[in-house]
Symmetry: C2
Subunit: 324 residues, 2 copies
Amino acid sequence: MYSLDFIQQRISSAFADARFLHEPIKLYEPISYTLDQGGKRIRPVLVLLACDLFGGDIEKAVFPAMGLEIFHNFTLLHDDIMDNAPLRRGQETVHKKWNDNTAILSGDTMFVLAYEYVAKTDAALLPEVLRLFNDTARKVCEGQQYDMNFETQEKVTIEQYKMMIRLKTAVLIACSLKLGAIIARAEPAEANKLYDFGIELGLAFQLQDDYLDTFGDVAIFGKEIGGDIITHKKTFLFLKAFEVARGDDLAHLTYLFNTPEIPPAEKTNKVIRIYQKLRIDEYTRQEIEMHFQNASQIFNSLNVKEELRKEIHGLAGGMVGRKK
Amino acid sequence: MYSLDFIQQRISSAFADARFLHEPIKLYEPISYTLDQGGKRIRPVLVLLACDLFGGDIEKAVFPAMGLEIFHNFTLLHDDIMDNAPLRRGQETVHKKWNDNTAILSGDTMFVLAYEYVAKTDAALLPEVLRLFNDTARKVCEGQQYDMNFETQEKVTIEQYKMMIRLKTAVLIACSLKLGAIIARAEPAEANKLYDFGIELGLAFQLQDDYLDTFGDVAIFGKEIGGDIITHKKTFLFLKAFEVARGDDLAHLTYLFNTPEIPPAEKTNKVIRIYQKLRIDEYTRQEIEMHFQNASQIFNSLNVKEELRKEIHGLAGGMVGRKK
């Protein structure tokens, strides 16, 4: 059984050892730039943790785990074009540093790379691994489409929002865990439980991300607070606020979100004050807690030794901002 | 043994039977639009012909063959964004009919679909099939990058140009043939020969496309003549012309390709006249013929019954504009 620290270092060293720079340089330089930036590498770490949980050889999971991380970074690269985002992890995005065409084509190539790495698994497991990865990749694309649809869609329900983040974020977390279980040759029922755990964890994780965007500490969150408010993103917080607001609060929120002339800092401050008055922070934390509890319940029903649960449980708690 | 006609119809009906329209509609509508346009379906037809050539069950090749066609259409969709092309097969391109973001994301989803279809093969063959497809997809991306590099690169050699079209076009033709051979469980040496045949055929095919863009009959070519001249594309014709031109011809060509003010029709006519004087049409036909002869030589060395060769040979001849 490996510690979370050990597994994080194993993934870091795997990426440090990989050489992504080939000819033509213009194609591979943005790929190398993207994958060298690091990030938390949550997905490949989950693959190895899940593999270890079921007594598998984590070395057999390293390449497929890298494949999921490469896929995740590919989706960020293309999403950043679609969202016209200037920064990612504090650095210029590929389409800004180079251009849109480079970002499209280097992204496509990363997608192939992801498949190459995911396919580095025992031949006997390949059909199942590939089915899982294809299904996940398709759903992530669908999630991104719903996310874009919601930007211009007048009415979005909290249920629709959760369906979107399930597709866009949670299925890849779930896929990571299930992939590790498959490589460890866990019982299918157990692997599926781990997938369901990943869905609930992924929902909690995305809601936590939404929470931090508005109520986070800049120093911990690592990016400016209020981005979602300024871009009028229909997050859980936004949707919940419009669900519970009445009278003056509703009128004020409507005004704030429909008046582009309000300076960003003023808008953010005012919206946060109304959110606090409406207890949106509490509602959101309750929602996160609910999904985390669902996740824990599924996790605890797994047929694995008690002492093996600690590392995943620790990482999962960290993903949703729990201290212990 | 099946006729070319039968196999073309089998592929058409397979696409007619497939339903690509799912929720979210905005994601899948452009995919359905693209795949319903048809086109010549050369790649999937080659898969089935190659499978049949080695006595395989063509029904087992239908889904993987569709996967290659979906992949090909995905590359066209993303290439059309990068080239800002308004039309494809006489219809509006996806990024024009919808927008760039839709074209990016629907393209990504088509790429997943391509993998899903390619993976619909016997589990025992999956590792080899996937290795071939990954390798091909990567090379096609590299080819597109070289193609974009050459637009702004001052000096491009004919050798570099051929390396580019080998990656961008020929490897997918080669992959189609080899995939059919693999599914038919042909000897690896034979499958590799068919791949090499496909490379030479693919080179001849792309050179023929270049030839037709300048010297073709609009009615047969199906698009306007002279597109490559107007966009100053560094095709074989262009590179050969600058290789052999001397004195006034060279000066005139240089002037024509460096003076954006010249009206397109005038430019095309004048360039074609110089090309004819320099016998670029003959050089190009010789080049096509050379690669076609290379292809034929490899093809004839295959260990298959004589009467089985006819259909592929017929299609191959058609691809490079041979009457017989």
